[in-house]
Symmetry: C2
Subunit: 215 residues, 2 copies
């Protein structure tokens, strides 16, 4: 199966499995999710990223030993993705790099949407000259803010602001947007490609999984 790493600690099974469940529903591949220990707030600065890196590697190595054929680090910042690749022999996919390379396949100007202050470095590096602007929906600091009618309107308004500046593709820099189905809302309202980070990691991971299974 696919091993999916959540980079925040949770005992809530629904939260733990939400990305894996989406990938199973979209691509009909088995996903085993697990999370790193002792970081209930996840990764939010350099210090917490340094703290998480060896835990991500340890969990990925364990998942490989457990039989996972493809690993996914399900976070738009791609934490420890390069490091994990040096420690396992199975393919390792990061949400941020998968989404950004998918945008590059389209080759049009990109607007990035997220809820943090800045775009993950890995995404800026990959998007390069296609990157136009980053935006955070007004008043939104948590994905649950987007579940209200007002939050939804703010997300659509933010996407429209990006489009006014010439972007033709939207990329999410937040895996929380996947859980609330924001991509579907924006696609319906605006009729432009929206690259959802969990959809992108799942698209490539499920393709590799099927290959390596001999399907």
């Amino acid at each position: 199966m696919i091993g999916l790493i959540r980079v925040l600690t949770t005992a809530n099974a629904e939260v733990l499995h939400e990305h894996g469940r989406l990938i199973l529903e979209m691509y009909a591949v088995p996903v085993k999710s697990d999370c790193i220990p002792e970081q209930p707030l996840g990764i939010y600065n350099d210090e917490t990223e340094q703290l998480a890196n060896p835990k991500i590697v340890a969990l990925g190595k364990h998942m490989e030993q457990d039989g996972c054929k493809v690993l996914v680090v399900s976070c738009a910042a791609d934490p420890a993705v390069e490091l994990l690749r040096r420690n396992v022999s199975v393919p390792v996919i990061g949400a941020g790099s998968a989404a950004s390379y998918m945008a590059r396949m389209i080759g049009k100007p990109v607007g990035v949407m997220g809820i943090t202050d800045t775009v993950p470095a890995v995404m800026l590096d990959i998007l390069g000259d296609l990157f136009i602007r980053y935006i955070r929906p007004e008043g939104v600091t948590n994905t649950t803010d987007l579940l209200t009618p007002a939050g939804r309107e703010q997300a659509i308004a933010a996407a429209k602001t990006l489009m006014e500046q010439g972007i033709e593709v939207i990329v999410f820099a937040c895996t929380g947007f996947s859980t609330i189905g924001l991509a579907g809302i924006l696609r319906k309202e605006l009729n432009i490609p929206v690259i959802d980070a969990v959809e992108a990691e799942g698209l490539i991971a499920s393709n590799l999984y099927r290959q390596l299974r001999g399907e």
Copy 2:
């Protein structure tokens, strides 16, 4: 539907539709294929590429007017892909760039396999530091050569040569390899990811098509 451009002129319906048929079978999306006029030998040098470019743009524009939601230039050299993007508003996917970005999502050293003398520039540019070596199976100058048992052995031998040099992903620089099912043979023999150019363009094109259809 998806509009798929073949960059060689053919009156043979089987040849014309072979990439579209593969994409339909793999991803269950409708594909309309058409080819550029008056180039039965396709693109094989700078002069024939210059000759083909305006024909690709004209065909792509016609396909967009005809209702195609996504266009695919089904050639590993990505001819006229950037030019076509400036002339239509729908997404344009190139086989070479889609396959190369897909390899970058995996992030491991890449070996490229093809039947021409050199790797398309667009693929080298994208693969960058991940590119290790290009190889052409010995004695193979035409994809039909690979349909013989000897040709098949040569392709497997070429892949093994790449792996001995440390590559962990194989990317095809020839869409003819898709038609003969070479990826499946190599995956079975060698158990490493093989990025097939038609599979890669179809993976992204079908995803975008479904998005823009509101699925």
